[in-house]
Symmetry: C2
Subunit: 359 residues, 2 copies
């Protein structure tokens, strides 16, 4: 056996440390993907598939429900914070301890120690989450092998401080352009000012009352904001063009089409000459009303919180699989030099998931 093979008999904290010390900055995940594939293929209850550096392992026990446990195996660049270090207070320090090798360790521990789960299980390990969206391995698998991701409920083990964060809000970016007619600013009445024409857009934005809908018991909080504005030709010219870049963050009770229709409606009376959808990522329903999710919530305890930012749970949602974030580490330390995780949280998450899947 090569040195790089992962020992899944280690406990969760020790396995986390081993994964952290197995460097896998985005784009350099192949050795770790190889090691994970090798370790999982040694488990007879799992069927293992691979697409690029993305590994999917599944049970086929004929259970009535299937649960997906997913995590990315890449990290942001190392910041002088490797090898990992366990201090006397039970805190494990190092790049990836929070985001998200502690979560990956929990996935692997469940894979290794629950050969006969009460629900069929799908484990997904994917690459390139920390870089551009078009490189994201979960997206690649969803496109190439959507059947590999089928399930009734998905858990993304991203850091959430051992709390359930349900779904995520969608994000729509549009460019609102206004037009005018150039003229020398000494004879401004000969032209028409495109920046002045953007005034009603800003007025609508300032007056906008964002929704705070409660979905599956979680209160979301929308937002409609200008994130950029640009206009002007020269200091003595009446400008003939202005662009306001607007970002709409919307709750998961809206479809992408509904979200876009809403933004068009908000600005319907404004003198907009061009409405360009520049970027759009759908929201994800928390899915907490699903029986599998309800049982999961009961097993892990605590109160679910809404997720405001966009996360990969939306990729599951787009496939029709309700999804939540549930991982051991505190997300506030993700991507930081002092990234860390409390080892008791790793054990806690692993045990709660095992209890739920073996009850």
């Amino acid at each position: 056996m090569p040195d790089t093979v992962l020992d899944l008999t280690l406990d969760g904290p020790a396995l986390t440390a081993a994964l952290v010390d197995f460097r896998s900055v985005s784009g350099e995940e192949k050795p770790l993907a190889d090691a994970i594939e090798q370790a999982l293929r040694a488990l007879p209850h799992l069927t293992v598939d691979r697409h690029g550096n993305n590994i999917v392992a599944r049970t086929f026990l004929g259970r009535r429900e299937r649960v997906v446990l997913a995590g990315h195996i890449d990290t942001v660049p190392i910041a002088d914070n490797l090898p990992s270090r366990l201090d006397e207070n039970g805190i494990l320090w190092g790049c990836g301890t929070s985001d998200m090798k502690s979560g990956v360790a929990v996935q692997l521990r469940i894979a290794a120690t629950v050969p006969e789960p009460n629900r069929d299980l799908t484990f997904v390990f994917y690459d390139n989450e920390e870089v551009a969206a078009d490189l994201n391995g979960l997206g690649h698998v969803a496109t190439a092998h959507p059947d590999w991701l089928e399930g009734d409920f998905a858990i993304l083990l991203e850091p959430s401080d051992a709390q359930v964060e349900g779904g995520c809000q969608g994000t729509l970016r549009v460019l609102l352009r206004t037009a005018g007619e150039r003229a020398h600013s000494a004879r401004s009445w000969m032209g028409s000012n495109a920046i002045h024409a953007a005034g009603p857009i800003l007025a609508r934005l300032a007056a906008y009352e964002p929704r705070r809908p409660v979905i599956d018991g979680l209160e979301y909080h929308e937002g409609l904001n200008a994130v950029r504005i640009e206009g002007g030709v020269a200091n003595n010219v009446i400008p003939d063009a202005c662009t306001v870049v607007v970002n709409y963050r919307y709750a998961p009770d809206l479809s992408p089409a509904e979200a876009e229709a809403h933004v068009r409606e908000v600005f319907a009376d404004c003198p907009i000459t061009e409405f360009v959808v520049d970027d759009h990522s759908n929201a994800a329903m928390p899915g907490l009303s699903h029986p599998a999710a309800a049982a999961f919530m009961e097993a892990v305890g605590g109160t679910a919180k809404p997720k405001f930012g966009w996360t990969d749970v939306a990729r599951f949602s787009a496939l029709g699989v309700p999804a939540v974030n549930y991982g051991p580490a505190d997300p506030l330390f993700a991507h930081k030099r002092d990234e860390h995780v409390a080892i008791e949280k790793i054990v806690h998450c692993e045990n709660r998931l095992r209890d739920w899947l073996t009850a």
Copy 2:
């Protein structure tokens, strides 16, 4: 005598052609300034002074009034339009024919042919008008030798199609900055949007009713406009800063201080955190009610028009000298490859000025 000396016995059109063919793009005026100085020093009724490449020649006849005739001797870069060419319709073509060697020719013809004017005369020939304001020779003379520019009335022989254009509007540029607080756009309620805060500024601008005051019989037309707007940090960040660049073009009944106070008042209720005066050039009164100007208007005939753009007449106005533009060429062709002047207009302007100064 060197070849370069100007022959002031030529008629106006021929002298214009000679001046046009004597290249003097901005920054390269010295040879032409030398030639003008030499030609003027040959006229015993004139006292000639020089500052850099700026030549000032004056009569000291003890008249009750002094009139200043001013013109710049530089041109924009030559655009394959030299040497000059006189066509069969009496049109002289070439770089500087309009802006403003036809005017300079009229100045020189008056200097040479009116040794005993009914008003004392000051002739100003200056450099670097077509480039940056801080290089402008008239500005340099005004600073170094303001007494050289003293007078009761000034005529700038810039192209005005042989019509009198009175005074000029002032121009004030201010930066209006708004502030906010950054936050992730997924949690926009944690921040404060500086672009939204600029909305009331644009609303004021759109609703602004510019004044059209009548001064000395001329109707001016003001304007208050955004000429640029810029704000934003990143597509997922609530912006903490936005800047609107506003240009106020104001009529000559306002002093610079009054113009600035007006702009502050217009935006008094807007959430502006910084008000920066970025550029300010005063307006110029047309001065048409001055006796010398009234006599001038009567002599040249026609109806005076207001000047909306800023011109060097404002430098005279700042020195307390009312000033107008009055030159032979059509300003629409200034700076163009097909720049030209009708030679009959050169003769017309020269004759009207001579009539007025010898009546």
